[in-house]
Structures are given as structure tokens and as C-alpha cells.
Symmetry: D2
Subunit: 357 residues, 4 copies
Amino acid sequence: MSFNSFGRVFRFSTWGESHGPALGAVVDGCPPGLELSEDDLQPWLDKRRPGTSRFTTQRQEPDRVRILSGVFEGRTTGTPISLMIENVDQRSKDYSEVALAYRPGHADFTYDAKYGFRDYRGGGRSSARETAARVAAGGVARLVIPEVRIRAYLVELGGDAIDRAAFDDAEIDNNSFFCPDAGAAARWEKIVDEARKSGSSVGAIVECVAEGVPPGWGAPIYAKLDSELAAAMMTINAVKGVEIGDGFGAARLTGEQNADAIRPGNDGRPIFLANHAGGILGGISSGQPVVVRVALKPTSSILTPVETIDRNGDATEIRTKGRHDPCVGIRAAPVVEAMMALVLADQKLLHRAQTGR
Amino acid sequence: MSFNSFGRVFRFSTWGESHGPALGAVVDGCPPGLELSEDDLQPWLDKRRPGTSRFTTQRQEPDRVRILSGVFEGRTTGTPISLMIENVDQRSKDYSEVALAYRPGHADFTYDAKYGFRDYRGGGRSSARETAARVAAGGVARLVIPEVRIRAYLVELGGDAIDRAAFDDAEIDNNSFFCPDAGAAARWEKIVDEARKSGSSVGAIVECVAEGVPPGWGAPIYAKLDSELAAAMMTINAVKGVEIGDGFGAARLTGEQNADAIRPGNDGRPIFLANHAGGILGGISSGQPVVVRVALKPTSSILTPVETIDRNGDATEIRTKGRHDPCVGIRAAPVVEAMMALVLADQKLLHRAQTGR
Amino acid sequence: MSFNSFGRVFRFSTWGESHGPALGAVVDGCPPGLELSEDDLQPWLDKRRPGTSRFTTQRQEPDRVRILSGVFEGRTTGTPISLMIENVDQRSKDYSEVALAYRPGHADFTYDAKYGFRDYRGGGRSSARETAARVAAGGVARLVIPEVRIRAYLVELGGDAIDRAAFDDAEIDNNSFFCPDAGAAARWEKIVDEARKSGSSVGAIVECVAEGVPPGWGAPIYAKLDSELAAAMMTINAVKGVEIGDGFGAARLTGEQNADAIRPGNDGRPIFLANHAGGILGGISSGQPVVVRVALKPTSSILTPVETIDRNGDATEIRTKGRHDPCVGIRAAPVVEAMMALVLADQKLLHRAQTGR
Amino acid sequence: MSFNSFGRVFRFSTWGESHGPALGAVVDGCPPGLELSEDDLQPWLDKRRPGTSRFTTQRQEPDRVRILSGVFEGRTTGTPISLMIENVDQRSKDYSEVALAYRPGHADFTYDAKYGFRDYRGGGRSSARETAARVAAGGVARLVIPEVRIRAYLVELGGDAIDRAAFDDAEIDNNSFFCPDAGAAARWEKIVDEARKSGSSVGAIVECVAEGVPPGWGAPIYAKLDSELAAAMMTINAVKGVEIGDGFGAARLTGEQNADAIRPGNDGRPIFLANHAGGILGGISSGQPVVVRVALKPTSSILTPVETIDRNGDATEIRTKGRHDPCVGIRAAPVVEAMMALVLADQKLLHRAQTGR
């Protein structure tokens, strides 16, 4: 209900800025008795960590997560789990330019408009560093839903889409782009290198699939699973669009094309002959894979000068120097996974609350 | 926090089923002293009302709204406003088929999976009749934000998009499709007629623009204005995708193309040279028009038989007879407007709470 | 989160004023499949209903509850349950005096101070008629917790306490005061008659016991069962104090006196040798009876003239004519029971959400 | 809405256990631009800090608070304020006894019943050390309501009440008991010394007064100011009762005695001739001082052996060694003040949200 919290019964809050001493998350409502240590969370943070390839920002952050509460003798106690990540590489630099002028595409102007002033160091609270905290929280959420397998990967970068026929799950962790198509990954290297060298940036589309979600999670009307997922994904920096299943493509199908026919399965569970719905019907999971796609705009931090105004309202122009991801969509994949896990964990507990199952 | 409520400080809850005696909404947190009568709400309901053209369902519902509380001597008192709409045209029909078999694309299977049984009459709670209640609530929300002008219209139907060059605001109310392009409206008549005659259905894309939103509404991180809007829109029946500003298109732009440059305005307010961002930066409104697009799948109720299973898990097939919208996207436009108003009213009050402005 | 809703996952909202056309409640998050009809709710309303003895207000309200949604074929569907009660006996009278002057002890002055004006007819939203809606909602809550038996009764009226040695559970429904001590009930007749005749009023203390609550309901820190109960009870009109177990009396005990020693029970469940704690330890139920006591001030509507001011700030005096309960504590007993049921149902579901039990 | 968060728009969450590495609070929704440093918070923590006199526990905790986020250049930014306090004096001791047996009056049994196991070191999450976090959060809240002056003090200890005629505001900080009556403070020294020496403990009653609250804060029905305050106070360790104004005493008054008559004031604001209501009418502040009283049970940690059972359900007895407050009520006074500030700050912002004032 508050601005920096998400979830209903499994709920997390994040805090921290790009250039403060630390950032973190508090996870509340976690079931007791789950085995949890920092080693369970660190791998997810390592996937999101900056500075691991030449295609992401060169800021060096170890992103070591510490568990400060809520775990005793290796198990969750049911009380709040406080997670903290120290900021290490806050490079001292001159912020006088960005302190005065508004970078187009960034939250500089709107933060000033809302709050009257802003922490301009590295974007302050609006920095994507905040997502480290939710990736840590997402690691806890995964323990709540061991029956679910979540994978996020890029299906498009800089307008260049993968070939679905070349989709290889094993390939996703083999390249710097979370790309399931080796051929596309090779092309994307060039696209990102070129954007980086020319001081430009590119956008991307991330797809996330959750397998193993049983039928029944989610709820009408204002807790629809699609609505929760859309809300969750839209909180990620640079995200401008969310779709479930066929999404915008469904608007171009006929009713017959879009119908996911159902057949009896051998194990008593239904078999759907298609999944245009993306695993959600009427806001409730159908047992099919839950499929979400997320559009990320190109990084707004570019070296090319752009017209803008300063805090006095006078005309100026600005180019954003410093260390930036030429494509924020890449490192968004682990964040999208985390948000999927966080939403599903919450919905699992909500479903259990109401139905006892 | 509950399943059938939406909003944080300006909050509404809806109740009611397709074939129950009535449906309604309770609006809580409304500022006191606003002039409000049923006449202020009825026009919005009339726009959404079924049976007004041959392109929508032939169910005849007057959708008369009654205010049962929260208004005294013509003004809101600050206490909950209870709105009720009676169901009139619940045609007695044989529901035995739909009671037993699951209509693909509908919530039949998932409601049974979640709750163990379901109200199968006209879709029960999952019917789009619920949206009448929020259109009424949205009418109240509009009074909270008189500075904002909201317009929703269809930009695509059955895969046929409008010509942006032919956009005419005045045309929107001149046809049965809330279509701003007279040429497209003419083509759409044929598309919908054909779908209806062949027992098929088509999807649509609705765009909604809110002008007059001042800079500063919305909030990081988990109350971002884009996130609230996405959540709101995704609760509408048949919606499978939401995008803000350029949305998925932004993923195909470069950083330079996507940058909305800023110039000083004559009145001290900034002028943005473009609006790729759709009026939201960092989750906070920029003062530009807020632009949202929503994808609606084709109606799942089609006359063409589709393979499915019954409640016992046995194979069968079903065709959906009865009165249905061949394109649910059409009547969604007033609902999208209502959700826009409801989100913005809530955010206005939240902004006032935190900043006093 | 909103002003007129209560609960977390089992949640209800109420609406309506003393002299509006109707009032009601919307219950959200109710488990599906519970048998529910209006006949299950009416008995609780009948207990709270005015005009049943000479000791309560003579306003005649049948308080017939209608279920408008959320029930299909006699069972709850898991969707919102809308409950409506029509106001019948809004006697037309002259409200000019109360419209202008503030009745001391009532919400007249504070509503005007907050909202700028108020519905002055019968107290508007601040009237105890609102409690009819929660008694109806409480009837639904009881179905969620069939393992729990709830009893509320008066232990003191006008400063005259019951004799605990004379406590007889069967006596509670045998008199007009929900009094478990026949001797006290006889004395109270005189006290209330005298108050009524002299145009005065008296206060009361209601005790409520819930038996059958299993260990484990409630949660640290800000969802402690005692905190939820205190919040719930303090929302009832005229309540000025709440205590759990020994309450204020516990502040006068030593640690040894206050310790509820524990012994092994024959059935493997512990036996507590005392219940100073009122069934709650650390915010979580212990399996002992949950005991709450609630203090109600004397009715502020008295015939004796009291000094006050009018809306212009000028001195005047006011005496409250009309139909009033000389002791609002009497009819509060069913309301206290309802709030106990509503809190416990919510906590049961929350406990199930987190722990799966 | 979650278990370890409190508040609606000004909201805080706490985390941490008695013997973990640290504990803290995250404050969300704070208005921007308020001057805030650690020096603003430390004085409140110092008042609550243990080990400052022989009448409280001898655990030595400096309780140094660090601000980790939400403040830039000395002012709040409107983003979450993360507050952390390290635990320093977690004395290594043998917990084998308390790990196995349930201390009567403590949360040992109920935590095990709810969660299946518990952090038994110093009470884990149920320790009163958690209150340090809210005292820090309360320090932030005070900055939101500079117009309000809050004072909490003990009015009774071990059954020995102060003499209201001897009330001296200046005396409160002159003794170890936050006692406004020097004579009572002298007597209490002996009571607490005796309790400590005999391995016993005593209870207390804390009164808290907030002056300067303008008319209009709070809201009907389920956000009544009294309800919020009762919920807040009941979350404090050992609290078993809460009353507003005359509280339980009001139940023994007649309507005439209880009426707070109103007279015109010279400044256009009304003058109340009494304050039986404790500054709240119909759930909304009247402009009079808000008065709350809180009953705290005697510390459950006593040296006297008490019968209990162990985790296997077998009979045993336990005496609680270690460092404990012989009267937890003493150090509760700063916590009660903090909760008052936190509730009022939230209500101020809520009132502003709805009414713009």
C-alpha cells in the first residue's frame, strides 16, 4: 500500500539510492521453516551484477548480500528478513552538470517537480541499482514456490528479434545477453558494441516463462494474476510495455484463432492445445506456463548532446558521461525473473489463505 | 489489499455478478464537498451500455445508477459512496451446457480449479458486466480531477489500424466504435458485421490520453504511475497487453530517437519536443499528456464449436450461443477511461498527502 | 487501507447513513463453498435490532438483510458478498436545531471541522446504525470459524458490576441486557429506567470471550491479535477503552501473580493454570479463551440541556430530543461479538496463508 | 497491511531480533524537504536506551542509529528512510534451558505453536528490543508534525498511582521513572528495588498527551483516531489495555457528567469545558489534547520458578535468569510517545489527502 512496498501477504519493501552507503529489502510474511542462507541469494545477484561483460556498465559492484534478520539456525523464522547490499563503487565525480540540468528521458525533471529537489548522484532512488534489492528478495520468493521454474531471456534487442525456431534453453546462460538463440546473440554483440562506441543506446524485449504454476493462483477482479504481473513489471526501470501470452498480437486474431482448445490429459489434468492466453484465464492461472513479455526503452543516458533546460528553466543541452549500460534490457532479465517469483509467491499464499489449498 | 478493491487513498470496491439482482461499487476516500448526483454518473454508463448498436451485445440493460450513501444535499460528505445498478435483462435460458463444459478462453475452467465450483450464469463474476460498476465509480473520480481531460478511443480493430493523419477528435462520438478516423470506422462496420455473421469475433486496441495532469503525480518505486495504470488496465476483461507512450515501439528506438528534448516555455513551464515517454518519467507525471494503449483479445464467446472438456474431464466440444459482443474492445473504451480517472484521482490525493501540494 | 474497510485478507467495507435509503457491507476474501443464506445472518441482526425492549431506542427497524452477490446455489462463491439493509423508520422531524448547533459528546463539531459540513440527520455516518452492517458481515465471518464459540455480555452497567460468582451463561439471553447475572439484570432495569426517565444516560462494560481459538492465530509485530482486536473494538461507537485478559488489572499484579503456569494436558495439549493473558501471548493465540473487555461511555444524547456553540461559533445550549438508547452499551454486545468474529476469521486465513495450517 | 508494517500513507516497517547483528526500520511516505540527521533521532533512542539506571535492564546497548537512505544534503528526499541500529551487547550465554522450556507469560509457546520453531535467544523477534526501531521511526514522525507536542509519563507503578495534584511537567525528566510526581517517584524507587531484589516484577500505567493536534485528524469508521491509537499501543510489548480520555472511567459516568460542554473562544476557536473525550469525538480530533493511557503487565521474566512444560510437552519448571527490566513499563514511555507521533503523522497526511488541508 505504501510507495516502496509490493505484495499483499508475501510483501517486500526496498530502500536505498545509487550513491548512498547501502541498499536493501525487507521481506515480510515469508513462511517459516524454509532453509535460507546468503548462498541461496548470491547467485541471483551475480546474474544481475554490473561489470561482468563489456556490454554492461563498468561500475564494479560485488553486490554481496547480507541477511540481517529473520533466519535462525539456517531457516526462516516467519519474521521479517532484512537484506542489505553495500554500495562500494560510488566513484567520486563532478555532479554539478546533472545537478543543474535535467537529463531527458530520466526522472530528473519529475523528481524535482514532485519533491522540490532531488538526490542527483547517479540518479538517486531512480537508479536501476534499486533492482539489486528486489533480486535479493526474489531469491527468497523462489524458496516459497519450489514447484515453479522461472526463466527470463531477451527475445529482441535493438529491433533485432530472435528466431523462435532456433530457441535453445541451454543457450541462455552461454552468452552475455540471456539470449536463447546463438545466432541472434552473435548479431547483438555488434549492435551493442556499435551503440556503445557511438554513445547511443538500444532497447530490448524480455520474455519470462513460469512453468509449474498450478491452476487456481490469482483472483478476480483487482487481484488478477495478469494485473499483478503487469504492475510488478512496470515498476522496473525503463519498462514501457507489458503483455501476457499473445498480448498485443491477440488483438489481431479472430476468436477461433485465439481459442486455446482443451483436451483430456492422461493424468486427469487437462491438456491445452495452445497457449495464446499465456497461462491466465479470467485472472487465474490455468496450469499452462505463465508467459509475460516486457518492453524496455533504450537507456536514456547517451553521449549525444540533447536539448534540455536547467533548474532555472533556461535552455541548455546535456550529454550523459559516465558508466552506463548501452542496453538496460540485458540486465533486466534477472529482475524480471525476480518480480515473477515475488508475484507468484504472494499469489500462492493468497490462494492458500482463501481456499486452504 | 483485497481482491475486489482498487486504489490507495481514493479507493473503490465492486461487487455483483452477471445474473444476480444487482451490481455496484463503494467509493471510499472521496474528498468532501464535491457536487454529485446520479445525473453526473449516468452519461458515462450510457456510453458503456450494451444494446445501443448492432455492433454490441443485444442484452438490454438500462444501467440506471443509484447513489445510496455518501451524498447529502447534493454534495459528497467524505463518507463512502455506495453506487448500485440493478440487473434487468437476465434472460432465462438453459445453462446446462455451460454449467458442465468449460468454454475455452473463458474463466470457466480456472474458477472451478480455484473455488471448486462457479456461478455459470453469464460468466458470473467474470462477466464484463462488472465493468458497469467501475464506470460509475470512475464518474466520481472525474469530479476529483476536474483539471484533467480524458479520452479513450479505438486505434485498431480486427488488425485494421486507424490512419493517424486522419485523427479527428470530434469523430470519436460520431460512430459506434469510438473511432477517431471516419474512414476506419466505415471499414470496421464491415469487419464487425462479418465477424458477427460468421459467429466469429475480433480484437481491438484502445488508446487513452489524459491531458492536464500536472507534473508530480505518481511515485517511485512500487507506486509508479505507469505501474498503477498497467495494473488498472489489466483488470479489464479481455485485456492482454498495456503500454505507456511508445511502449513496445520504444524497444526499437535508439536513445537519441527516444529522447524527449526539453525547451523553455513562455509561461515558465517546460515544453517537451516529443512524448515518447507517454507523459511519465521515473514513474512520475511530466506534465505532458499521459498516453496508455491497451490490447483486447477477441471475444472468447464464438459460435464456432471448439474442443474442450467437461467438469468430469471428458472430451466434448462447445459453441457459445447467446448475446455477445463480437468485439469486446468497443465497449471497453469507456471502461479504460474510467480506470484512467480512478488511478489519477488516487494519485492526486496521494501526491497531496505526501507533499501538501 | 481505506477508511471504511477493515481486515487484511478477509475484509469488509461498510457504507450508509442513519437516514439514507439503506446501508450495507461488502465482504471480500470469503472462502468459497460455505453454505450461506439470509437466514444465517438475520438472527444476529435481530439481537442488535432496536426497539425490542423499553431499554433501547424506540426506532422501529426490521433490519432485514439481503444478499445481493457472492452466493450461488446456497454457497459462497469466493467473490464479494454484498449485504444490504434498508432504512425504514427515518422519522421525518425537524433537524434545524441539530443542523446548527453541535451536540457535545457527538461527532457534530469534528465532522464539520474535518469535512466543512455534515449530514446532520440522525448523526449521518456517525450513527450507530452503521453497526447493523458489520453485524451482518460478522455473520459471514462466523461461518469461516466454525471451531470458535463467541459470547459477549455486559459485566457492568452504570457503574454496577455483576457478581462473577453468579455468572450463568444461560442467563445472558434471558434478559434485556445480555447480562449473565440475574440479580444484576434486575438492578439494571431500575438503573436504565431511571436514566431514561430523567433524560440521562449510563455507560457499560462489555466482555467478550472466544473459545476454541487454536494456538497460533495472530502475528508479530503490527498484526498482533491484541492489536487487531483493540483496533476493531475501538471502531464501535462510544467505545473509549479496550483491554485483553486482566488488562488494566494486570498493571497491579506482580510477575508471579500474573504468570499463567503451564501443565501437560492428557490430550497432549497444554493446560494453563490461569488466563491472566486473555488467551494471547506475544500477539499470538495460546489456545486459551480469548478475553476482551470494552468500555462504553454513556449516550451523549441526553435531554438535559448542555452548553455548546452553533456553526457560527456563538454560544447556545442544546438538549437532544428524539429516540435514543439510554445505554448504548446494551446493544453493543452483538456488535462486539461481530467484530471478534471478523478479526478471528481474518487471522485464521492469514495464519493459513503464511504457514499452510 | 503486512505483519511488520504500520501506517497508511506515512508507513514504517521494522525488522530485527534481540540477538541478531542489527535491527532497524524503514520509513516510507515521509514528506520531502524536512531537515533530518542522526542527531535528530538519537535523543529519543537515548531516552529508551537500557542500562541507564539501576531500575532497568543492565544490558548495555549504545543504540546508535544510522540513516542509510532517504536523506540528501540534510533533508528528506521523499524516498524511504532506512534506519539501522547495531546490536552490541548480545552476551554469550547458555540458552539451552529457554530453548527447551516455555517461559510462562512470554511468546515462547505461541511462537512454537505458530511457526514450528523459534529464535530463542533473548526472545528473538518478540523481544522489546524491537521497540528501539520504532522509537527511531517516531523521531522522523515528529518532524512531520511540528505543531504537536507529545509527552508520555507513568501515572501508576506497581499499583501505586501518582497524586494528580502534585503533577509537575518539569519533574518527568528528573527521575528514572518518567514520573511527573516527585513524591511518587521516590516511593517507586523502593517498589522497583524490592521487586528486583526479590526476583519479582511490577506493572505500570503510562499516560500520553498530544497537544496541538488541530480539529479534523482521524476518520470514520475503521480509521478512527482512537482505533489507530489503540492498535498502535497494543503492539507494544506487555501492553494489555488502552483507553482514550476517561476510558473505563467513562463507563461509570452519567451522560451529563461525561458531556464536554463547549463555549466560544476569544480567537474564534471553541473552548471545551472538560476533556472526558480525550480529544477525540466520532473518531476525529476535536482540537483538545489527545489523551491515551496504556496498561503494561509486570515483566514475565522473573527469578521465581514457575511451572511450565518443555517442547516435548513434559512438565518442568523455569526461572528466568539474565538481565531484565523489573518493570517494562518504565522504558515503555518513550515507545508510547513514538507510537503517538507515528499515528498522528500518518493521520495528518491522510487528512491532507482527502481534504487538501
